[in-house]
């Protein structure tokens, strides 16, 4: 058996061709796990650029929370300052990047600013847009992931559009090409620009998927089933890439999430001895 985070990380990994430049944003350990899984299986020649540390990396290390900088700083091929990365490096290379939308609509527009209420008095203020409105107007390698599939995320109408999707009347960019959640994988139909089911994860049903999605998505029957992670993929995720289970943080919330964080920090402080020595 495997967990939701593991099939998401595996699906992310399968989207990464060898030899590509992949970008890793803030607080997205599931994406890091997916990239590293690709790196250790079919894509040994990946290069990473990371928001944390602002380096170009070819090497890798297991995921951390308190010590995550070690991965990106100490093993960097070169350091790039944020301004150069944003203005020159990312526009030039169109790196593959996975974004986690706060809300996403049927054509792949998405929102990371606020949910509910008004902009001035939101029900929930989100952390903010980062580089999303910068890259999505022209990016060619935009991918989305949603760790907890639900109608609060997949909505008919966004409260705010910070990431550009496939609405053919408004979009200047190319839009996201792929979305993975804990229930299924999607791409976007070329004509309509609407979300289109690729496959449902093992054990999930089309009816449940439709019920948990706030808009109508396209699909063809018979519906395909997502490949389960292989035993080797699971071993790599659990033993090599992320032995502390940091990737799980994105699928947990509230008390369970805080408890998991405490467990991770306890395990990591053993690792910290090495951090201090190096």
């Amino acid at each position: 058996m495997y967990t939701k985070d593991e099939i998401i990380a595996t699906c992310i990994s399968h989207q990464i061709p060898n030899g590509q430049l992949v970008a890793h944003g803030i607080a997205t350990p599931l994406v890091a796990a997916g990239y590293l899984l690709a790196r250790l299986t079919h894509a040994p020649d990946l290069a990473f650029i990371s928001a944390i540390g602002q380096s170009v990396c070819r090497d890798w290390a297991p995921l951390g929370v308190a010590t995550i900088e070690k991965l990106w700083i100490s093993q960097g091929l070169m350091s790039i300052n944020f301004v150069d990365a944003v203005c020159s490096f990312i526009p030039r290379f169109h790196p593959i990047e996975f974004f986690r939308p706060g809300q996403v609509d049927a054509t792949g527009n998405f929102n990371n600013v606020f949910i509910g209420g008004s902009y001035e008095r939101p029900r929930l203020r989100l952390p903010g847009v980062g580089g999303i409105p910068d890259i999505t107007p022209f990016g060619e390698n935009i991918f989305l992931y949603v760790p907890r599939h639900g109608r609060h995320t997949f909505v008919e109408k966004l409260d705010f559009t910070s990431g550009i999707g496939h609405d053919p009347t408004t979009r200047p960019g190319k839009g996201p090409t792929y979305l993975v959640s804990d229930l299924a994988q999607f791409d976007f139909a070329p004509e309509s620009g609407r979300m289109r089911l690729i496959s449902i994860h093992p054990g999930e049903s089309l009816g449940r998927l439709q019920a948990k999605t706030g808009f109508v998505f396209e699909y063809q029957e018979p519906v395909a089933e997502t490949d389960s992670p292989t035993p080797e993929e699971l071993r790599l995720l659990r033993e090599v890439i992320d032995p502390m289970g940091i990737r799980m943080l994105e699928t947990l919330s509230g008390r369970r999430r805080r408890q998991k964080l405490r467990d991770i920090l306890r395990e990591e402080s053993a690792f910290f001895a090495g951090f201090e020595d190096s």
Binding site: G76, N81, C87, L124, G128, T170, R171, P172, L261, I264
Partner: protein, 262 residues
């Protein structure tokens, strides 16, 4: 060059009512937390600050919690894997703080415009998004070479920038230990630059990350980023960040800060 070393209590006096204050580092890495604490607990703490942070995190959340921030300019405000920034998230939902909605490109281009001494820098960013609806001050211009619409991001400066560094010399030359973020640029757009440093040496001779030329004050402040990290000297103190979040969630921000400052 001039010896710029200064005590923490003298350095906080640079920050005045209504100032725009920029904080170096990123989210929960190398943030000037000890400086912010000192600023909160000084005798007449400044009010109505505008906070400028590329990615705002713990130090910014504390400043917001203390009620000193009227306005925040950032593209991300959160505590990374530790979740939402509690005091910011509450203040924003209550409509008690003005947010100047930025993105990575609007900040990066705004800094470049300020450094170059021009009003704006052009970019393909934001086209087609709702960002303009919350930033009516950001103009769209026509590219004179191809007629395309471009976003003209306005210049961004600040009154005071506070940057915590791994090592500084007394002239203000600094080494960061990686994670350069926008700290070099902050030193070039701020009217006053304050450095807090894990270690202060007489003179750094090579491999600095930015020059001390625009620096006004150098404060020796070991553990000055705690509980955020100062790579490679110490990692994030995650337990302390969780204690902070728990205290905020229970409405005990003030008590937490008092305890921290004892």
């Amino acid at each position: 060059m001039i010896d710029k070393t200064l005590s923490l209590s003298d350095a906080v006096r640079y920050v005045r009512d209504g100032h725009t204050i920029a904080l170096g580092g990123m989210t929960i890495y190398r943030r000037p937390v000890a400086f912010v604490q000192a600023l909160i607990t000084t005798e007449n703490p400044p009010s109505k600050l505008t906070l400028f942070s590329f990615t705002a995190g713990l130090a910014s959340d504390i400043l917001v919690g203390a009620g000193m921030v009227e306005r925040i300019r950032t593209c991300y405000f959160g505590l990374e894997s530790f979740g939402l920034a509690p005091m910011f998230t509450n203040a924003a939902s209550d409509g008690k703080i003005e947010i100047i909605e930025e993105s990575e490109a609007s900040i990066a281009n705004g800094l470049r415009a300020k450094m170059a001494g021009v009003g704006f820098m052009p970019s393909r960013a934001w086209q087609g998004t709702d960002m303009f609806s919350v930033r009516p001050d950001v103009r769209i211009i026509e590219d004179p070479y191809n007629g395309r619409d471009l976003t003209a991001f306005p210049a961004i400066g600040c009154d005071v920038a506070v940057i915590h560094v791994l090592k500084a010399d007394k002239f203000g030359n600094c080494q960061l230990g990686g994670n350069p973020t926008i700290d070099h640029e902050l030193t070039l757009v701020a009217d006053t630059v304050i450095i807090t440093a894990e270690e202060v040496v007489d003179s750094l001779e090579t491999s600095i990350d930015f020059s001390g030329l625009p620096v006004s004050a150098v404060v020796h402040l070991p553990q000055g980023a705690w509980p955020t990290s100062c790579y490679p000297t110490y990692p994030i103190d995650g337990d302390e960040i969780l204690r902070y979040i728990d205290a905020c969630n229970k409405g005990e921000f003030d008590a937490y800060i008092r305890r921290l400052s004892q």
